[in-house]
């Protein structure tokens, strides 16, 4: 599970060009919160969905699902795990 989380963090940092290290992101940090979170915006969210599709084979086309999945590193990792076990 930690491997997946590291991979998600690296994907996020690469795609969003954030100048922090993977270990600076807490697993439960709110991605879109300005205070105590990463302060991402909706355009970053689209980039993350593209990244999840290209690097993890996870397809999200529904905004409601994106809002449930893109909360923290933990929620993304859980979603990937669910998809892996159901396929």
């Amino acid at each position: 599970m930690d491997d997946i989380k590291d991979k998600i963090k690296k994907m996020l940092l690469n795609r969003l060009k954030l100048k922090i290290a993977p270990h600076d992101i807490k697993d439960d940090a709110q991605l879109f919160a300005q205070e105590g979170g990463l302060g991402l915006d909706s355009i970053d969210a689209l980039e993350l969905v593209v990244g999840l599709q290209k690097e993890f084979g996870i397809v999200i086309t529904d905004k409601a699902i994106a809002e449930k999945v893109l909360i923290s590193i933990n929620t993304i990792a859980n979603f990937i795990k669910e998809k892996e076990t159901s396929s």
Binding site: S42, I43, A45, L46, E47, V49, V50, Q53, I60, T61, K63, A66
Partner: protein, 138 residues
């Protein structure tokens, strides 16, 4: 394949800010448009007086216009706005007399945002390519 004859009139842009002359192909998720670049383009008066080159920013505008048609080809009264211009490379200058062929393909859509892969060709050479994100109204 969609009937392309009605595509261009649906473009909300009008003179002097229409950077497409014709839609060649239009289907779900992708489209191809043409912009004929003539020596009479107003921007060539200043860009540059002795050395006319189509401004890259206007090539991006043409890319966004065909992307907007792909997004809204059957929704006449909708407007889309540029939300992001990503990694656009300009590989060759576009000169008076060139015909720009521009392709826009949807990479991913998560309303209201849609990401496109865009390319511009003169004859068979790529002159510019990259990605554009449009935000659509409504």
């Amino acid at each position: 394949m969609v009937d392309v004859s009605n595509a261009l009139p649906n473009l909300p842009h009008s003179y002097p800010f229409r950077f497409l002359d014709k839609v060649l192909e239009l289907e779900e998720g992708r489209g191809v448009g043409i912009k004929n670049v003539t020596i009479n383009e107003p921007f060539f008066q200043g860009h540059f007086k002795e050395n006319p080159i189509m401004p890259g920013i206007l090539i991006i505008e043409a890319m966004a216009q065909i992307a907007g048609i792909v997004l809204h080809h059957n929704k006449k009264d909708k407007t889309a706005f540029i939300a992001r211009v990503k990694d656009i490379k300009f590989k060759n200058p576009v000169l008076p007399g060139d015909q720009l062929k521009i392709t826009a393909n949807i990479v991913l859509s998560l309303p209201p945002l849609t990401q496109f892969a865009v390319k511009a060709f003169v004859e068979d050479d790529i002159v510019a390519e990259g990605e554009i994100v449009l935000a659509s109204e409504g």
